[in-house]
Amino acid sequence: MVIEIEDLRHGTELLKNGFASLQKGGVIMDVTNADQAKIAEEAGAIAVMALHAVPADIRKAGGVARMADPVVISEIVDTVTIPVMAKCRIGHFVEAEILEALGVDMIDESEVLTPVDTHHVDKRRFTVPFVCGARSLGEALRRIEEGAAMVRTKGEAGTGDVKEAVRHMKLIMGEIRSLKGKDDEELKDVAKELQVSIETVQETAKLQRLPVVNFAAGGVATPADAALMMQLGADGVFVGSGIFKSSVPEKMASAVVDAVNSYDDPKRLAAISKGLGSPMKGIEVSTLAEEEMLQVRGW
């Protein structure tokens, strides 16, 4: 058997979208150290998001929120066998380059951190895939055209209030449904309005879903929240502060994983939701001032 070296291809769209596709039906958990990463892996998380602080604490701390310390990321990369993701600031392509050099498997260009540019990172020139947040179909499709292999709702991170994630998911799904039956001329108008190509809009209209994997994120705190997002059409769920801000993280982590698998089975969900201790306390989104909202970051 002879394999020519030029036949080997890395960092292709197929490999990036394929990686994202393999995450479907799973739960990605925020972790801040090796012990938490182990708990997430043993609970059945499909991947972990390596951070120096969970979004609830980032929100509390204020100031400029940046990429996590590479020491934290490397420690987590060395600890678990499942994929490790990490966040860079919106538009900060050098943070993204550093994360890729650290061996991170997927980069989250995230509104949880302080943006540095109105232009998002050109994700096509990276070998590793990206996930980006979106509040509307326009944001989602613009990120996909920049090369995102996965989209997630922005929700309102670090609140434990799932309301905004619900709103964003319903809005995106509704906008996709509204493309049905439109002719090419009308789709062209939509493309112009959303600032994306007609091809991307046509593909979305035809598929009747986003052309890449679509996860829920931003405020998911309980098994019921996770199941709710799955019923609304999410391909999987990110849980940020919800696991390690709850009173018994091991139980909460397993329960959220089980809930995503049995999201349409209320009896199973009832059993899964029993005896989990207290979920994270949280902040009701409606009590936040406009300038405290993380979801408005990004374009």
Binding site: M1, F19, E100, S262
Partner: protein, 203 residues
Amino acid sequence: MKTKIGVIAIQGDVAEHVIALEKALVGSGEKGEVVKIKQRGIVGACDAIVIPGGESTTIGRLIEREGILPELKGAANAEKPILGTCAGLVLLANEGDEEVVKTKQPLLGLMDVKVKRNAFGRQRESFETLLKLTIFETPFHAVFIRAPAIIQASDDVTVLATFDGHIVAAKQRNTIALSFHPELTEDRRIHHYFLDLVNKLCR
């Protein structure tokens, strides 16, 4: 006879395998149905099983918690064909490397092979290549994503392909394990090969 193929639908490339199998069924003009398996009680009614790619730790833990794990062992004992891709390969093995041991993930132990998780590296090392398989005349467009590989195999295991010194496709009795993802490309030869195996045994 109408064949029934079950796809373990805990997590990962479930929809892609279902579509690939349905297309392969149509392509070969056979009658059959493909069902998704998320809970116990369905495996026994299937003629063959596919364990898709995803995270083997997640799929392993959930097939155990949902009670599907012993049913899969029963299906293998009943000589039903089983196809495992990527994470599926890890789960089919009877032994794992230190990474597998470290995660304490359950293995089905249906093939006499030792598996290495992430054998080729992390996502940045994931690759596509044209792979020569012993069962096909022309190379197969193989997509390896954080792929596992077989690092040891007993004499009962037939090697179908190797890459970079590791076994990346193998067959033992009616069980087939692949490191790569045939569900992510349009080449249906692997799914046809699997259906042929199912048909031979069902007749």
